[in-house]
């Protein structure tokens, strides 16, 4: 039992990872930030612009959460408890898009303002 507790304490000190890993993640974050800035600088438009913005955003967020915040090494139960609830936001997103479409429809149709 004493050995088990010692092992547990050793584990509690955990989250020791090679410095190289952090540097690589850091480098990728810089590259991705530069890419997302270039999307604006080059002046891309339409669906290509929006999909690239979302892609770089998702990759950066994933790298930060997984490596800098150590989520990749946490217990699966904790990962589920923290990462699954935000999926509900997609429902909220859908509701608000529907609402916004309706609002702009009433504004153009009944108040005569051109979109």
């Amino acid at each position: 039992m004493a050995q088990a507790i010692a092992h547990a304490q050793e584990h509690a000190q955990g989250q020791q990872h090679p410095v190289r890993l952090y540097l690589v993640v850091w480098g990728w974050l810089f590259v991705l930030s530069t890419c997302s800035y270039l999307v604006d600088y080059v002046g891309l438009h339409g669906y290509l612009r929006w999909s690239l913005i979302l892609l770089f955003m998702a990759l950066k967020a994933g790298l930060i959460i997984a490596f800098f915040m150590h989520m990749a090494w946490e217990r699966l139960a904790l990962r589920c408890a923290i990462l699954l609830p935000p999926i509900l936001l997609l429902v909220f997103l859908g509701i608000m898009m529907f609402e916004a479409d309706y609002t702009v429809f009433t504004r153009t149709e009944f108040f005569g303002v051109a979109p």
Partner: protein, 240 residues
């Protein structure tokens, strides 16, 4: 009173990492996430609630932008700076992004050196992180001043949809507040590390809990979250 001991430590640690492990974690007695300290779990749950707050801001920004009939001001032009006679689009925001990314890196390094018990390097890296954060807030203050001089208000602006100002001040103001709180948090923690509080397990002045190097990691979680929120603001407000 000693810290509550883990019951069945060996059992807790040998649990499978699969869905079976998730079920046994959630069904366990006393605590759900075995061998994860309550401090870390509470920080994660706070960050989850903060995620919903920022999501509400960003979703309301999306709603007003989609539903306005006036043209939305072009952020690329609004946030351009004149450097050497040429207008560089969004340059200040790009610099702010790089500063925050750099601060996230130094914070990750601080956590790493904390667990290696390198007191001086940990404190120095945390202070460097705080300095990056303070310069970020300084640039944001500069940006706000510039926009207010150009006539941007929460109720109007010279270029188009009035909602632009309210969304801008609301979202960046709330994020800037988070950065400021993070800088204060970092300086307090750096002082504790420097003084050796985390090695001598000196009790904190506020929580009266024993100090440990996990406090650096928990501070880091908050700081990385601030950076994470900026990733979303940068993409959805400034670049969209």
């Amino acid at each position: 009173m000693a810290e509550p001991a883990l019951t069945n430590v060996s059992e807790a640690l040998t649990r499978p990492g699969s869905w079976q492990g998730v079920a046994s974690d959630w069904a366990s007695d006393q605590r759900a996430f075995k061998n994860v300290s309550w401090g870390k779990v509470m920080m994660w749950i706070f960050l989850l609630s903060d995620t919903f707050i920022f999501s509400c801001f960003l979703l309301s920004y999306m709603t007003v932008r989609m539903s306005t009939t006036a043209p939305w001001p072009n952020p690329s032009e609004v946030f351009a700076l004149e450097i050497g006679g040429a207008k560089v689009p969004l340059i200040l925001i790009a610099i702010m992004t790089f500063i925050l990314i750099s601060s996230s890196g130094t914070m990750a390094m601080a956590v790493n050196f904390g667990y290696r018990r390198d007191r001086v390097k940990t404190a120095a890296l945390m202070l460097l992180t705080a300095a990056f954060g303070a310069s970020f807030v300084g640039m944001q203050a500069f940006e706000w001043t510039k926009l207010i001089h150009e006539g941007v208000r929460p109720w109007g602006n010279p270029w188009g949809a009035y909602q632009f100002g309210s969304a801008f001040f609301m979202i960046t103001g709330f994020h800037g507040t988070h950065v400021t709180i993070g800088v204060i948090f970092l300086v307090i923690m750096a002082r504790k590390v420097w003084r050796g509080d985390l090695e001598t397990e000196r009790r904190g002045f506020f929580t009266s809990k024993k100090g440990s190097y996990e406090l650096v990691e928990i501070t880091g979680l908050y700081w990385h979250f601030v950076d994470l929120v900026w990733v979303f603001i940068f993409a959805l407000f400034y670049l969209w």
